[in-house]
C-alpha cells in the first residue's frame, strides 16, 4: 500500500531552507545528488526531515488503515484457502505499517505522536481506503489493483535517499508481489465462474479502477512539491509517469481475463512512451479525489472509528503489559 503527498499546504522547502547553514546544506545536497544514503544521525535540512516524516508516516498510516477494508472479509472468505491467504496478507500490512513507523521514528517523531495525529484526523492516509469493500470480488480487485499501484510506487522508493525508508521499502516490496498475485488469482477465479460472478467482478473492477489511478496522486502540473522531492531523491518518478506505467501494465491484464476497463477514452497510442506505445486514458475526477482527501470518502468516518476503537479497547492490554514489566523489574531489583 502507499500514499502520495496529500497536503497541498506542506511547508515549502524554500522558506525553511533559508534558515539552514549554507555549507552544510550544500554538502547534504551533494551527497544526495551522488545517490548516497542519508542515515538517522546525519545532518539533514529541516525541510527534508519534515517532508520525510510526513511521507513515511502517511505511508505507515495507509498500511494500518489498509487492513480494515480487507479485514472486513476475513470471516467471510469463500474457502479456508482464501481465508488463510487473506489473513496472511492483512498481517503483512500490519508488518508494513510497523516497518514504516520504525523508519519514521528515526527522524525524531514518536510512534505515539504519529498515532495521535492519525486518530485526531490531522494526519492523512491513502484515499483508496475510504472506499467500501462491498463484495468478495472487491478483495480480488484490491489485491490486484491497489497493491499493484502500490508496487509501482514503492519499487523506486527502494532507492530513496533516506536509508531507513529505503530498507523498509525493500522488505515491503519483497512481500507485496504475493499480495498482487493472490488478488489477481481471485479475479481470475471470478471471471472463470458463473455469469453472476463475472458481473460481480466487473462491478468491483469498475469501482476500484479510478480510485487506483488516483493513488498516484495529483497530476504533475498540480503537484508543487514533486520537483523538490525528486531533487532530494525522496521520490524517484513523477505521479503521471507512474500512473501511465500502471495503466499500460494493467489494461492487458484486465483484457486477458475478460474485464472491460471502465474508461470510454481508453485507446492505444503508438506514439506514446517515446514510440514504444502506451494508452491514452480519460481524465481522473480530481474533485472526488480532493473530497476523499478531506475525509469525505464513503467510509472515512467508519475507518477512523474502527482505528480509534481498536486503540482504546486495547489500552488495558498495553497497560497490563507495562504493569507486569514494572512489577517484575521491581522484584528483580529487590532480589539483587
Amino acid at each position: 500500500m502507499y500514499t502520495t503527498e496529500l497536503s497541498k499546504n506542506a511547508p515549502t522547502a524554500t522558506n525553511v531552507q533559508a534558515l539552514e547553514d549554507p555549507a552544510k546544506l550544500a554538502a547534504f545536497e551533494a551527497r544526495v545528488a551522488a545517490d548516497e544514503f542519508i542515515e538517522p544521525k546525519d545532518w539533514m535540512p529541516e525541510a527534508y526531515r519534515r517532508t520525510l516524516t510526513r511521507q513515511i508516516s502517511q505511508h505507515a498510516h495507509s498500511e494500518i488503515v489498509g487492513m480494515l477494508p480487507e479485514g472486513n472479509w476475513i470471516s467471510r472468505a469463500p474457502s479456508l484457502r482464501r481465508k488463510a491467504i487473506l489473513l496472511a496478507k492483512v498481517q503483512d500490512e500490519a508488518g508494513h505499517g510497523l516497518y514504516l513507523y520504525s523508519a519514521a521514528e528515526t527522524l525524531g517523531t514518536s510512534r505515539r505522536e504519529m498515532i495521535e495525529a492519525l486518530h485526531s484526523g490531522k494526519a492523512k492516509y491513502s484515499t483508496i481506503f475510504n472506499y467500501p469493500t462491498l463484495t468478495w470480488a472487491d478483495i480480488g480487485a484490491i489485491g490486484w489493483l491497489v497493491d499493484g499501484a502500490a508496487i509501482m510506487n514503492q519499487v523506486p522508493l527502494q532507492r530513496t535517499s533516506y536509508g531507513p525508508y529505503a530498507r523498509a521499502m525493500v522488505r515491503v516490496c519483497k512481500e507485496e508481489s504475493f499480495h498482487q498475485r493472490q488478488g489477481y488469482e481471485i479475479c481470475m477465479a471470478m471471471m472463470a465462474g458463473t455469469a453472476d460472478q463475472q458481473r460481480m467482478m466487473q462491478d468491483a473492477f469498475n469501482r476500484w479502477w479510478w480510485p487506483s489511478l488516483m493513488m498516484f496522486g495529483p497530476t504533475d502540473d498540480n503537484s508543487p512539491n514533486t520537483a523538490q522531492s525528486m531533487r532530494w531523491r525522496i521520490k524517484r518518478d513523477t505521479n503521471d509517469e507512474l500512473r501511465q506505467k500502471f495503466v499500460d501494465i494493467t489494461v492487458p491484464q484486465a483484457e486477458a481475463i475478460g474485464l472491460t476497463v471502465p474508461d470510454a477514452d481508453l485507446v492505444w497510442n503508438e506514439a506514446k512512451n517515446n514510440g514504444a506505445g502506451g494508452y491514452d486514458f480519460g481524465a481522473v475526477d480530481w474533485d472526488e479525489f480532493y473530497a476523499v482527501v478531506k475525509g469525505e470518502g464513503p467510509v472515512a468516518k467508519e475507518r477512523m472509528k474502527a482505528r480509534r476503537d481498536a486503540w482504546d479497547n486495547g489500552a488495558w492490554v498495553r497497560d497490563a503489559a507495562v504493569a507486569y514489566a514494572q512489577k517484575r523489574n521491581a522484584r528483580e531489583a529487590q532480589a539483587a
Partner: protein, 94 residues
C-alpha cells in the same frame, strides 16, 4: 495517554554460519514481548533461525561528525594493504 513502550533493536541470523544482522526495531514493555513482536514483524517468511533484541537505549553509536577522524586515517596507512608491497613477477602463491 501513557507513553510509548521502550524501543528495541532487532537482529536476525539468517542461517547458521552467518552473523546476526540488524533488521529494524519494535516497541515492547519487556524482553519477552520484544522477542515475540520481533518474531511477528521480521520473520514471517523464514528470514532467520535466531533473533536478538537489544534495548535501543543501550546502543552507543559513533557520531557522523567524527567520521573523518574515525574512519579516514586508513588512507594514510596504505602499508596496511597488501597492494602496498611490490612483489616481482614470477613469485607466486603470495
Amino acid at each position: 495517554m501513557s507513553k510509548d513502550w521502550p524501543l528495541w533493536e532487532v537482529f536476525v541470523r539468517a542461517k547458521g554460519g552467518m552473523s546476526h544482522r540488524h533488521v529494524g526495531s519494535v516497541h515492547a514493555p519487556d524482553p519477552e514481548i520484544a522477542l515475540r513482536h520481533a518474531r511477528d514483524t521480521y520473520t514471517r517468511r523464514m528470514e532467520g533461525i535466531s533473533l536478538w533484541v537489544v534495548p535501543s537505549a543501550q546502543i552507543v553509536a559513533s557520531d557522523p561528525a567524527d567520521d573523518a577522524q574515525n574512519f579516514d586515517p586508513a588512507a594514510d596507512k596504505i602499508y596496511r594493504h597488501p597492494t602496498f608491497y611490490d612483489i616481482p613477477d614470477g613469485i607466486t602463491h603470495i
